[in-house]
């Protein structure tokens, strides 16, 4: 089974996103994630994020969004987590305020892994206790620990 923590080793976490719009959040989190060695081309990543989002919003419901992009330049799947205290409107009618953002980038050819990771993040996020744990986390380590526990019990 895929372990989410294996793609979170950089602990790319923002516990208080400043952005108030989805477009700004894409910029803010792209900055964050492109500091990792696995996303060398921020512009390509950002464009791919927007392109994917244009197909259908990545809001999952329950205040969770999973914007993601597949890029040729990405070397290895990488997941970042962002928390918005105010909430960000993703444009989904049933979920006006996304407070937990899982952003990930993945090499274009990794289709199987892409599906597996997206499904597993979705399963993590549908549990209320997991969402509450992320929202109350005070450090990247606490966020990471929540995923470690989830991986261990999966």
């Amino acid at each position: 089974m895929v372990e989410l923590t294996s793609f979170m080793k950089g602990k790319i976490v923002c516990l208080d996103l400043k952005s108030e719009t989805k477009a700004d959040m894409f910029e803010e989190m792209s900055d964050l994630i492109s500091h990792s060695e696995f996303v060398p081309d921020r512009r390509e990543f950002l464009d791919a994020l927007k392109e994917r989002e244009a197909v259908m919003v990545t809001s999952l419901g329950d205040g969770v969004g999973i914007p993601h992009a597949r890029c040729d330049s990405i070397q290895q799947l990488v997941i970042a987590v962002g928390i918005s205290r105010k909430g960000i409107d993703f444009g989904a009618k049933d979920d006006p305020a996304v407070r937990i953002v899982f952003m990930f980038g993945i090499p274009t050819q990794e289709t199987k892994l892409y599906i597996q990771v997206l499904a597993k993040i979705s399963r993590f996020a549908r549990k209320k206790e997991n969402r509450e744990r992320l929202l109350s986390a005070r450090s990247a380590d606490e966020i990471f620990a929540a995923f470690e526990e989830f991986d261990a019990n999966s």
């Binding site: 895929v2 399963r123 549908r126």
Partner: protein
Amino acid sequence: MQLVIVVLYREEQLDDILSVFAELGLENTIVIEGTRMQEVLAFDVPIFAGLAAGSLGGKRYVKILMSTCPEEGISRQIAKVAKDFDIDFSNRDVGEILTLPLKELVTAED
């Protein structure tokens, strides 16, 4: 190699069970729509119409997911992950998971 078949009696949970398959890497899955014999009899064969008043709940269609998997124990993994989606295969009204050993599988890689 295993042939994995999941029969889901609650078609409204198809999204969830597909997510389970996706997470477990069962990417070559095929989804088929089917009907239980008892319900075909009840609704399409007049002499058996009395069955319609039984405990069928009016759910005529089931979803059948078929896939292959190299791992043993995939049925237990499916059942475990599915519980997070409130799909409990220990309840016979929910569905069934079957695995069968495959003697031979010919693919493009061969």
